[in-house]
């Protein structure tokens, strides 16, 4: 389980960073989204006593109430907050992206480069 999670975080981060460094605004927003997925998964793995595999997420009668038997609730709360904030910021970035596209007529992040080739209808 750990290895699967580690690989998926690595792949998401790698593709996210690569896309973030690309010159088109759409690639940048995709990169930011992938990066935030990677971060959310990463926060899960940072619970106390490592990754919670096969542990109860919700209190169950008869199970001793400690972290040996339950998933750490705090990273879940952090992830929830991070998802909400990340979602809002992505939406805002999308608006600015469209505004930039409308004003400059190109989807280059600098709004100027290679306008001739990238002229869109």
């Amino acid at each position: 389980m750990e290895i699967v999670l580690a690989i998926s975080i690595g792949v998401l981060t790698g593709s996210g960073v690569w896309l973030l460094l690309r010159p088109r605004t759409f690639q940048v927003i995709m990169g930011l989204s992938l990066l935030s997925y990677a971060v959310n998964l990463f926060i899960f793995s940072m619970g106390r006593l490592g990754l919670a595999v096969d542990k109860e997420p919700v209190l169950v009668p008869g199970v001793p109430p400690d972290l040996q038997h339950y998933a750490d609730p705090l990273p879940q709360a952090l992830v929830l907050t991070a998802i909400v904030i990340g979602f809002a910021m992505t939406a805002l970035f999308l608006v600015v992206l469209l505004a930039s596209r409308g004003i400059s007529g190109t989807d280059h992040v600098d709004g100027t480069h290679a306008r001739e080739q990238q002229e869109m209808p």
Binding site: L32, V39, I43, L74, L78, T81, M89, I103
Partner: protein, 516 residues
């Protein structure tokens, strides 16, 4: 004054929530008003900011009480015991930052009332949300809560930066948002790693746990600290993470620029707070971790800012580079982790922030004065340097004096004189030249650098190569900033409203070497 302190003592600790709650409720209420009720919105916003200023003064006075234990305010918003619930903590540093925030905010909101609030919608709402985020970031004592307040202030700042729209703002806003979203990801990674290692997000609890981190987790801890610090350093505009700053800050409308001058200080404040808490001398094997990075990075930032100030042709760019320079100085001084040096830094911080903020406001006034009411001169739209045509002949389209006459013995309007004087004072504070407070701050830092143990007791201690470099930079940026004043200062040109004086007296460019 005694009445005020009694009132404050009675209202504590609940008064600590006011700097966060007041702007939040004001902003929420402003959302309900229609956009045409501009005056009412402005009035409410000013009233709320004024009340915030009074609260900040009361809080600062409260922390100044004699007797150390009483001067720390602790507030439990959810009433959960300390390491589990979110805690707000007020000490002198956070009270000072709150006061600074509210002073800058009041000036900025008054300035916006004259003109800029009409450039777009919901200006005051966003402004109040930004205030809420700033106050929260200064008050919170929980790492994740700090992230939430950072996001609040950033979200509001995105809106404020785009206020007024236009190509430059949207373009620089795009970069600004992208880099801050990336920084937020780093913040989350760092914060969650800290939780994974120590099992707590409460800052005081983290600081206590630092010495007890097991040896095999030490490397992970340092990685977490470095990742978290990168997120803050992006906000504090350390070189090479600061290329977004100058375009964004100079594209923003003037009152927003003034408020943004404070935002780099949020990064510096957070670094100072967390770093001294976690990696102070009590941190065991991790004591002073990353100190050299802060010092060297801060010095590189100083050099970048100073060179940028010399190279700036536009006043707003100059103000942006001044913000970079000031935060570079603060970072480098913070990196030494010496008490006396930090004291000098804390003296330098408010005055330099106020000066940079004022410079943003002044830049707007001077530009409009120079360009007959518009913010941009014709030559600025196609990005030509204004004063650098080969034989110093003004570019076509400049707002010239009617006859292009030499302006000697001409009456200068009083308002222009005040503007010039104000500009002079701002540059003096930023440059750290006597007699203003910037000089005292820099002098205190230089003294602390040379005498780390206090005057007279430093026999045998030397600042070391890094210390000498900082010393040289601090002194070296004095003349360079004065030069920036001489070469791109509008003060001589603003009163004559034209470029003619540059032709008439080519000497300004020749004074520059004479300045140091």
């Amino acid at each position: 004054m005694s009445h005020l302190s009694e009132l404050t003592a009675a209202a504590m600790p609940h008064l600590m929530l006011a700097p966060i709650a007041l702007p939040m409720f004001t902003a929420a209420f402003l959302l309900l008003l229609r956009e045409e009720q501009q005056r009412l919105k402005f009035g409410l916003s000013v009233l709320s900011t004024l009340a915030g200023l009074l609260v900040a003064i009361a809080l600062l006075q409260w922390t100044h009480q004699a007797g150390a234990p009483a001067s720390m305010g602790v507030y439990l918003p959810g009433n959960w015991p300390a390491p589990f619930g979110i805690v707000l903590v007020l000490d002198r540093l956070s009270a000072l930052m709150l006061l600074l925030t509210n002073i800058v905010a009041l000036c900025s909101v008054l300035f916006a009332g004259a003109r800029w609030q009409r450039a777009g919608v919901h200006y005051h709402t966003l402004f109040q949300f930004q205030l809420m985020g700033l106050s929260g970031a200064f008050l919170t004592a929980d790492l994740f809560n700090l992230f939430v307040f950072f996001e609040i202030l950033l979200a509001a700042s995105y809106g404020l930066l785009l206020h007024g729209s236009g190509r430059a703002r949207v373009q620089s806003g795009l970069h600004y948002i992208a880099i801050n979203l990336a920084a937020s990801s780093l913040f989350l990674i760092g914060a969650s790693m800290f939780y994974g290692i120590t099992g707590t997000l409460n800052m005081a609890d983290l600081a206590q746990g630092m010495a007890h981190v097991s040896a095999e987790d030490r490397g992970l801890l340092h990685a977490a600290a470095a990742i978290l610090a990168t997120a803050f350093l992006i906000k504090a505009a350390m070189w090479p993470l600061n290329f977004w700053l100058v375009p964004a800050y100079s594209a923003a409308t003037a009152p927003v620029g003034a408020l943004f001058a404070l935002m780099t200080k949020v990064g510096v404040y957070t670094l100072l707070r967390l770093w001294t808490l976690m990696f102070g001398t009590e941190a065991g094997a991790s004591a002073l971790f990353g100190s050299l990075w802060l010092i060297v990075g801060g010095m590189a930032t100083m050099a970048f800012g100073a060179i940028g100030m010399m190279g700036s042709q536009r006043l707003t760019h100059l103000a942006g580079h001044a913000a970079v320079l000031s935060s570079g100085t603060l970072l480098a001084a913070a990196g030494f982790g010496q008490n006396a040096l930090t004291a000098g830094l804390l003296y330098y911080l408010p005055s330099s922030t106020l000066a940079v903020g004022a410079l943003f406001l002044l830049a707007d006034l001077i530009d409009r004065w120079r360009n007959d009411g518009t913010t941009l001169a014709p030559y600025e739209s196609d990005d030509d340097a204004p004063f650098l045509s080969p034989e110093l002949v003004p570019t076509a389209g400049l707002n010239l004096d009617d006859d292009e006459q030499v302006l000697v013995g001409r009456v200068i309007p009083a308002s222009a004189v005040f503007m010039g004087l104000a500009y002079l004072m701002c540059t003096l504070v930023i440059a750290g030249l006597p007699p203003l407070s910037g000089f005292i701050g820099k002098f205190a830092m230089l003294t602390a650098l040379l005498n780390p143990l206090g005057l007279g007791s430093s026999a045998g201690t030397r600042p070391g190569p890094v210390g000498w470099t900082l010393l040289a930079l601090m002194i070296g940026t004095w003349p360079s900033r004065a030069r920036a004043y001489a070469t791109s200062g509008p003060a001589p040109s603003a009163p004559c409203r034209s470029c003619a004086c540059w032709r008439a007296c080519p000497s300004p460019c020749c004074w520059a070497p004479a300045w140091p």
